[in-house]
Symmetry: D4
Subunit: 157 residues, 8 copies
């Protein structure tokens, strides 16, 4: 019977396919949980940071900043999240990949919200890119990334 259902679904989909496509987006509740988890991990590690989650269109979904995190961390966290969501990349990998390729430094100038610096990770669910998370404020991109990855774990529960 499942087959018939899928067939029906296929037909329904077909009808709207011409004009619309369907997306999965991270829920606000999940975004808030990720932000809280990332902040908790960095606080535990002894770092004052901002954690931001943006949807796949790069629009901010949830953010929180530690009392002692500097004002620049709001933008650094948000931009790292934007970069991961818009390009589907881990910003630490990207920063390393272009470090010795000056012909690619234009990548930094593509858009005002692009930030190629460790601490941004794409969020995928069922192999679909649904958001991006960014952390800023720790003394090193790998430290920011560790908190972003801790936040991703909340999606597995």
């Amino acid at each position: 019977m499942m087959n018939k259902c899928l067939m029906l679904l296929a037909l329904v989909a077909l009808g709207t396919q011409a004009q619309t496509r369907s997306y999965s987006v991270l829920s606000t509740d999940a975004a808030q949980k990720m932000v809280a988890a990332g902040l908790k991990q960095c606080t535990k590690d002894g770092y004052h940071v901002t954690v931001a989650v943006v949807d796949r269109s790069g629009v901010l979904k949830a953010l929180a900043r530690d009392e002692l995190a500097g004002p620049h961390t709001i933008e650094s966290a948000r931009k790292k999240a934007f970069t991961s969501a818009s390009m589907g990349v881990n910003t630490t990998d990207m920063a390393n990949n272009i470090a010795d390729k000056p012909a690619l430094s234009g990548l930094r100038d593509m858009h005002p919200d692009i930030l190629i610096l460790g601490g941004g990770v794409p969020v995928r669910i069922d192999d679909q890119l649904v958001a991006g998370i960014g952390v800023g404020g720790a003394p090193g991109g790998h430290l920011d990334q560790a908190c972003a990855e801790a936040a991703l774990k909340t999606l597995l529960k």
Copy 2:
């Protein structure tokens, strides 16, 4: 049998509901058709305009400008589309509604892409807001709106 299918679907949906939500977005193909149709209508009416379509996140999807439309029309068309997609409003109605309410003029300052001026129309398919279309360049908001509405008709074909 359809009921059972819907039931199955409900179960599937339930599983991901906690972390994701599903969206319908206008296809790029449909967006390009709308832009071409809006431009064609205004050209027929004797106006030089820009027509823009943005997705429900306000991100530009398709745009075209008449050779003789002034450079300001790119932003006016895009912002009208953004306003209709982000607020779910017809900008002509909104402009009239707040015209005599100075306490609401702050609405113009909410976001740099908000433009409360006739010519922007929300795009809905199956009662879902999936995009916004904006037209700029005709000598009157109602004239811009007429071209936006002509573009919407392409979705009914």
Copy 3:
């Protein structure tokens, strides 16, 4: 004995008074609770909004956006919070107060983050201005404000 303590404190304070002053700032934990509470209230009321809290310096502290709130609500919520924190005002009152005073419309141009539109409320603890909260997305400033006030209640618990 308390008097002696206060006396001691006074002396300690005196020593640093010349060069520093002391502030109370809202904790990040409290800011996140406020954002969650404001979002919950508006969802219950049937509105899709963004809720933002900024510290008294106007720097973002916590933010969350409903999946269906338009992208413009991020800026409208943040700016309302900024305006309430920086000016120490309820933005609904301010919007009404200047509505019929065109000589004061320059207030709208003071700073790019000022937004004089209902939905922003100053956050005070022990008579000290410690933050600002802003809500954007409901169809009316008074509706946005109701969610901001619900959020303030979390501070009384």
Copy 4:
């Protein structure tokens, strides 16, 4: 014989019509002459101004500022020129036309270079819009406009 020539031209034009259109643009030499003439007139009238000429795409072509004209006049002159070139309007007329139509105040927000204030005049040659000129700094839009019109006279010589 002229007819045959025009016929030939028509054929030539036809060949490229599909892909290109032809424009007339004001020469840089003419733009500089206009700027000098406008500045001379305002100096004679006793006003310290900036005079700017932009092409029909709104891109600056020539500008000169009196030693005693305030820094804001660079932008006010350039924006008036942009507005006249992009919309094909006299900004004094436009400012008067929308003064009592609050539903049209959105026109001020269409583009960052739009300035609806007296002193901007479209430049037409052979009925073609080829540029815009703007003057800023005189104590009144009509005074700025008088200098812009004096500049236009240089095109008749």
Copy 5:
């Protein structure tokens, strides 16, 4: 003998007149004194403000902000100073003059640093415009202006 000196001077001046003009600008020392005096007056009046002085080119010369003045006051004070220096006007008078003239509201859009709101005063020495001072943060433009005028008195000592 003085006559001969003046004659010599005239000749010297004549030589450079063609290519340069001479300006008087407020000294930094005087600007700092004005800022301190304006801040002192507002503190005495019980208001938390920012006081800014810009030179006749609108470039910031000196600024100070009270610990409790909101972040928006930096821009409001600086812009009022810019407006007074660039236009040579008292911003309170200007705000009142255009309040009932919607055709002039474009004046607010001339330049991003123009702010037509009470609290900005031009600084003149020997009938020459040498700077502008602006105050922001008091609950009323006339209160801001009173502090700006107290600052001007330091120039008479």
Copy 6:
């Protein structure tokens, strides 16, 4: 007889030469065809991109974005097109040429719309620069460029 025609034309041209110059600009129809062709090629190649065409003044003429192309691609495509139109260069060549010349890195800061990164190609018709096309979103400038070049082919038909 053609010679006489050209002679007549020369005389006509001479009359207006002093004040105007003539330009060829890409038609909007051709721009839309190029955008559609570039998008089609990249989709065929398996890449999600934005394709943009700007006129020789750098003003956007037509744009389309694939549903799955990130939001940053709008600006990267538009800026590559601007750079090719304004500088008359192939951005891949330029990026390679300046890669090892740090003294030239200031070229990246000339204008906010300059983007020196592969994927932008100038559009010439009859040896005249009439527009620029840019593609963004493929995992490599040469891949973006391939789609831009496929789009150029539509002009040869």
Copy 7:
């Protein structure tokens, strides 16, 4: 007895700890003294500079510019101060540390007010970061830094 006092204080603090935290911020008076001292040192050294002090939130507190310091020094001084206050770093050290690490050049793009160039120093009192000071205009970051350090000495008196 002191112990009992501290105990009482602890209890008081505990009560508000949940919702607020306490900060020390540099007084405006101290900020003005620092600016004057920094300017005096650079003038003595023969350099024309701007000196700026921002609070730990990066908001400008006091600034003064030498008559002959270029207009760019306002932003360079303010941004150096912002960077030192927001990141808690000496900008000379930071500039040297990242000079040979291209993977870290993204640090320059984190926020528009970040400037990684010698001349910015964090201001600490009782081991607390309370502000940042920046100097711009001397022909070398170490020379700007020397004036910033001279300014810090005013806090020890």
Copy 8:
């Protein structure tokens, strides 16, 4: 006798020294002549450029753009002029000096109008910095600089 005159002048100067300083600024007439001369030289050399002159405060004084110079040249010429006037440097020398000093690349981020790229030259009269001139559009900074230097010659006539 001149000595006595200078003595008298010294006394006069002394009186106002406390509050004002005197400047020499380039006349608008001289600025326009420089722009015309620079444009003429580049046209003669076969390059399509924009030439801009700013006063010592970095405010635009005169500008002209060749019909075929790209839109980016307006900003590149103006910024080179700003950099030369504000820093008192030849931008070609500066670009070469910092090319191999990554620790100094922050100089590029000091201010949005700073452009460290060949083609900007400071304008000095009687050893006083009175303005800056910048040229943009030639295929090489040294070629832009040659036109700027040709413009400087007009000051010697």
